[in-house]
Symmetry: D2
Subunit: 316 residues, 4 copies
């Protein structure tokens, strides 16, 4: 029952769920760093085995999570600090063999739906250099080494009639970047994480992830070049929030001392019966709905600057 | 317990709640019309007495609700039909004494948050005539009678530092329209109503209503001219959806035959205890969150045309 | 001297220039139709020979120009009439062999520069069907024949670092449409044509054309599928307007009776000397500037609806 | 003849014109400062007498012009330097009597027309504080003195049917700020100045100025509080550029040695005849057109940040 309807795009939350349920997962290595002054916490999770991948429901690879309690504040200096940290983490995941890179930054999601506009807005703010480099060479920048940065906003299927994957495969085929960075807004399990967490992974974009549930993934396998994905949770699935609440209610009933009779009754239900009970109550409409904060416009605006700045630093 | 956290900006839903709870309300008169061919249902509710207003939690006046099952479809002819119906309903609420009107259309809400962008987008699509009329007279339009239509998008407090009410009072004071139309996105109780219902009322905008919870209302009393409000629900408050789900769960437990022991247990709780139980579980964060459909961008785009067209017909 | 700095993307204006200069062009066939009621004039020009193409400075093929004096008016019925006419002309240029088509509509130009935003805005308003057709089949539309319409807004080089051609080639390669429609804002020679003329051609997009001077063209040769281009002039090159004015001034001096001495002097200059005189005066900055009407936002908004409606009718 | 059709919103250019024509103006005091490292030049012009005002065609008051050759560059540190300088100049023009100020920033112009979008975009980027201050007091900011900053984007007449002046007067009347800052895109005489000059003046907005030619001015007299206007030229009037070119052509003919006969002929024309000649050639359509650079979107984006940053510093 534990995974029913509980969707999260954050590897960190998947792992937390296991811990809540006191289940141990093998094949997953975790390290934590804390920047005390800036209250930034970085968790690196490496899914090392196929068993680990199966248990986590996510492909093998590295998932770095940057949690910053004040990411939602207006303090520009703080955001600059996060950008610098982000640049460092992105560089850590870049393929090492090449020195000068050509990078395609893809801003996934729907520009017209505020919590899903993060990707497009990051690309809006990027320093794009590929065309200048192609025409004038690196001396146009007065530097010895310049990365060729290009950007694409593929839009969503209702706008284009095409999968993001189709558009991006075509563009990669034609322009042959060394690496692709995919920016996307994510769904979390907990409202507390919204706009406060950045996930960076070298596994690309999973099918079904993102605010709009991408139908097809973006990874080295499907796109042809390594894909680093950067995501920020901006929504919780409506079904998830409702499901979680009901679990909490049932749990509260079971634990609450002045509800002993109830407790007895609920204990009589097995997991499958509880599952059926909740399933009946969950309106199918909820599957096409999400929960998001009222001031999501400000968070997305700020975060798109923080992330584009991180990318600009990483590839400058 | 019944009204705890259940917020709706639709008078229709407030009344339904009473019916669900088998409570009779006095001082409220209701009439229904159906357009069978177009599956449009129009409910006119008149709150006639102070007692009715108190019970309903809404000011005295007329609340017309247009429900159109297919309002979410792409069929342009259908939307045209709704616009014509809407024009008729708006004209029904206009003050009668004047013949040629000057109208200020205010598009409330936050243009940057998709489900709250309805008001601003309606004004974007309006046929604005006041300046032409002022400069060239009605003969510029080749017609005997032309209404002077002006439009304002006041924005939200985080953008302007001012209440919508302050901006609109100033503009009304300066330009002295005969009547004001306020367009706003609303919160419903039920997800089924989203983007499918239009409410038209001569009571203006209530404090606390709207996606962004306007702090101050807009009515003849506060603005100085009659205010007709047109609203479409585009969100459900996150707290409402969670609360409603929990009620449904408790109800299901009480009714479900193979949960008899539970039923006994729950019956042992009085209303206040149930209230406390839910209150404990409701995260305070939910109060600043809303639930909205993933394709809300398309609904808002379409509805803003349907409503602006209705206004254009009403004031042509 | 006659063609110096006089740039136009309209085949019609190139031909007019020849007529002004009393030069006959061979290999170009012209036909005119007039819709009297609607004051729509349609000119079909077919460049039939390589010599004709060389003289015109445009590739062999068909150039249809729709001139509508009232295209700038707000009359919706009139725009609907133009859309129907446009649909007819588009269908005339479609390759005949196939019955059910898959069509990729590319909105060229820069969404952030008002007179260059026509292409992106047309795609915003298109009825996109490819994804629905792929998932549910034509029965989702309740019709026997449905065209698969997809859309792309490739952006401009400063935003993406890539040529529009690169992006479009990739997308075409990946999704294999039968035909591509490219929408673009054009440069005219005369301010009188702005927002009043639509050019439809089966020759695609020429290098150097468009408000932003596309570096690479889009044609069957470079893209791999037939390309029909639809363009509306929204700017005049600043260099063109200044050059034209100087020509007119010199001409006026030559013709003006009370300027006889001048006339003698100017006649003493040969064409090359006049060319040099103008060349010296033309600031190089002008080459990166354009002239556009102050109300271009309203024209582009209206025209994008008229053209997308024409496409929706053509492919419905 | 010298002032015919030559329109500029920059006091600096008006004065240059006088210098070109070797005309001395009385009642105007000028001071220049240069920041050598940053290549910023600041010219302070004070129109001290009514005669000076009449000659200049601009009201009495202080006009500060900041010229920065690299204002069009992407260098963020450079823009920060300009913002700091700008903040200093704004503070210099603020009324001195008050210590803690409430400021209304009005972003004039048309958001939908790229070179006219400067004002609206500056307000988008402003740090708005009035509502927080009103609700939580200055302690919310952890500082002893906080200015109350509010912002308004009044739109243009075609969108609202109202004059900017009407909307702003209403808002000022209702919210009573101590001072108003009006941001506006301007018309220059020379293309070389576009996006490279910032004018700050305590005389407010003149009627007829701005990209869209405001019909009514905004000044202490009409609005009721002191108005500081900040403007950047983003367009040249099409009529101005054509007129200027013709003057240059005539001048070149008069001066060019191998055009001696011409020279004689032109000398025979008096100023009035030249005026008539040009007037005949100037198409009336040009009065509704402007000239602007193709990359104006990038300039406006950058400048709106530089100016909003300057204001944020000035009022922090």
């Amino acid at each position: 029952m534990s995974q029913f309807q509980v969707r999260t795009d954050l590897a960190l939350e998947t792992r937390e769920k296991f811990e809540e349920d006191h289940v141990e997962i093998k094949g997953v290595r975790v390290e934590e760093e804390c920047r005390e002054e800036s209250e930034i916490k970085i968790t690196t999770m490496v899914i090392e085995t196929e068993n680990g991948a199966k248990a986590m429901g996510k492909p093998k690879g590295t998932y770095i999570t940057l949690e910053a309690a004040n990411l939602d504040s207006q303090d520009e200096d703080y955001h600059r600090e996060v950008s610098v940290e982000l640049a460092r983490l992105i560089r850590r995941l870049l393929p090492e063999e090449k020195h000068i890179l050509s990078v395609l930054v893809a801003g996934l999601g729907n520009r017209e739906v505020t919590p899903d506009a993060l990707g497009p807005r990051v690309v809006d703010n990027m320093m794009i250099t590929r065309h200048v480099l192609k025409e004038f060479g690196k001396y146009a920048f007065g530097e010895e080494e310049v990365n060729a940065v290009s950007g694409i906003v593929p839009g969503v299927m209702a706008q284009t009639g095409m999968e993001s994957q189709e558009i991006i495969r075509g563009v990669v085929e034609e322009t042959k970047p060394d690496v692709m960075i995919a920016i996307d807004a994510l769904a979390a399990r907990s409202t507390r994480r919204l706009s406060r967490t950045i996930q960076i992974t070298d596994t690309g974009i999973n099918p079904g992830s993102g605010v709009g549930n991408h139908r097809h993934g973006l990874s080295e396998e499907t796109v042809g070049v390594p894909v680093i994905a950067i995501g920020v949770p901006t929504v919780v699935d409506a079904a998830t929030i409702v499901n979680d609440t009901m679990h909490t209610l049932i749990q509260a009933m079971e634990e609450n001392s002045h509800l002993q009779t109830l407790s007895t009754g609920l204990n009589a239900l097995n997991e499958m019966e509880k599952y059926e009970l909740i399933r009946e109550l969950l309106s199918p409409q909820l599957n096409t709905m999400f929960v998001t904060p009222k001031d999501i416009d400000e968070s997305v605006k700020r975060l798109s600057f923080t992330i584009s700045e991180g990318l600009n630093i990483a590839f400058a």
